[in-house]
């Protein structure tokens, strides 16, 4: 677990350094994720230790959002002023995004004759 956690932090650190050095618009941890994905794709396997640690971190991913979410208390006045714009934006955007993505993917898969990737 210690080894896997160190590995994740090293990839994050490398990601941060790359993001800062090249002044990239992408957050460091995302670059770290892409680098780790590339490493796994090249090596062709994930160690049990890494898989276990990743599962441990991701199992309660929701918990990690709580401190940031509690920051809502800093924005009460903005929310009071702009709640209608925010609510309308989130409702419309979420619905439209789901609809556009679902319709497009369905059309593309039918056209390509591709299966959904389930068991044969």
């Amino acid at each position: 677990m210690l080894h896997a956690l160190t590995l994740l932090l090293v990839y994050q650190l490398v990601g941060e350094v790359i993001a800062q050095f090249f002044a990239l618009p992408v957050p460091g941890p995302v670059i770290g994720m892409a680098l780790l994905f590339a490493t796994l794709a090249v090596r062709g396997a994930v160690s049990d230790e890494l898989r276990g640690t990743a599962n441990g971190l991701l199992q309660h991913l929701s918990l990690l959002f709580v401190p940031a979410g509690t920051g809502v208390m800093l924005h009460f006045s903005r929310l009071a002023d702009e709640w209608l714009a925010l609510l309308a934006s989130l409702l419309v955007s979420t619905t439209v995004t789901i609809a556009v993505s679902a319709l497009l993917l369905r059309a593309l898969m039918r056209r390509g004759g591709a299966d959904a990737g389930g068991e044969p």
Binding site: L9, P27, V66, R106
Partner: protein
């Protein structure tokens, strides 16, 4: 006889200045919320993040504790978002074979979905007269919190406001997707999962896993890919948005 209340007051003064209280409160609130979520059979409206945040805001407000003081303790949990984002590479890698097979349809859908999410959010907010800071905080709202906060910071939004909008988006998508799918007669599990993962990140993914294993796997894939796509696309769209 020493009165009890002043003594408690001293303990409170001591504890409220220490990171232990913020950290412990976060974990306790989440455990309670998680228990409540499971008691409601995992109903999407009983979202653990939403409940935890409501409980914590209530406690902080009643005790008059500033967010900054709370965050000194909660930052240890918050910090783990970085390594957790890196760890998303592992479930993503697990879908590598399917990813290659459906690469082109998934990629096109991903780009269209990512751009739709950002543009529609900003356009509707602008139409309602929201400020530029609010619009920039809305743009990355469909991707998982650590990535969305990073993007918001880069494009001139408020990361902590974005976090709130991301969580709200997740809850809305998790509740609303089934009605959209019913209306459009979308039945394929892969499509249902992928579209929900694009629009509503991890909270949508958790919901998709309740529907089926296949929907969940495609939602996880969409969430990971959309984090990357939005991080690349939204900063490029910004000059065009404002």
């Amino acid at each position: 006889m020493t009165p009890v209340t002043p003594r408690l007051g001293e303990i409170w003064v001591y504890l409220s200045a220490s990171p232990l209280l913020g950290l412990t409160l976060t974990l306790l609130a989440y455990q309670a919320a998680y228990w409540l979520h499971r008691s409601c059979n995992g109903h999407p409206a009983a979202n653990p993040v939403l409940i935890s945040v409501l409980v914590l805001v209530g406690i902080l407000w009643v005790t008059g504790t500033p967010y900054r003081t709370y965050f000194e303790g909660a930052q240890f949990v918050h910090f783990l978002l970085g390594p957790a984002t890196v760890a998303l590479a592992i479930p993503l890698y697990a879908q590598f074979a399917r990813l290659k097979r459906l690469a082109l349809p998934l990629l096109l859908t991903l780009v269209a979905g990512s751009v739709t999410a950002a543009l529609s959010a900003v356009a509707v907010a602008a139409a309602f007269g929201a400020s530029t800071v609010t619009q920039m905080s809305l743009a990355p709202k469909s991707v998982t919190t650590p990535i969305a906060m990073g993007i918001a910071e880069r494009i001139g939004g408020l990361p902590s406001l974005t976090a709130v909008l991301v969580i709200t988006t997740g809850i809305l998508g998790a509740i609303g997707a089934r009605y959209v799918y019913r209306l459009l007669a979308v039945k394929d599990e892969a499509v249902r999962g992928f579209a929900l993962g694009i629009a509503s990140h991890g909270i949508g993914t958790a919901r998709a896993f309740q529907e089926s294993e296949q929907a969940g796997a495609f939602a996880a894939l969409a969430m990971g890919l959309n984090g990357l796509a939005t991080a690349l696309l939204v900063p490029l769209l910004v000059p065009w948005l404002s």
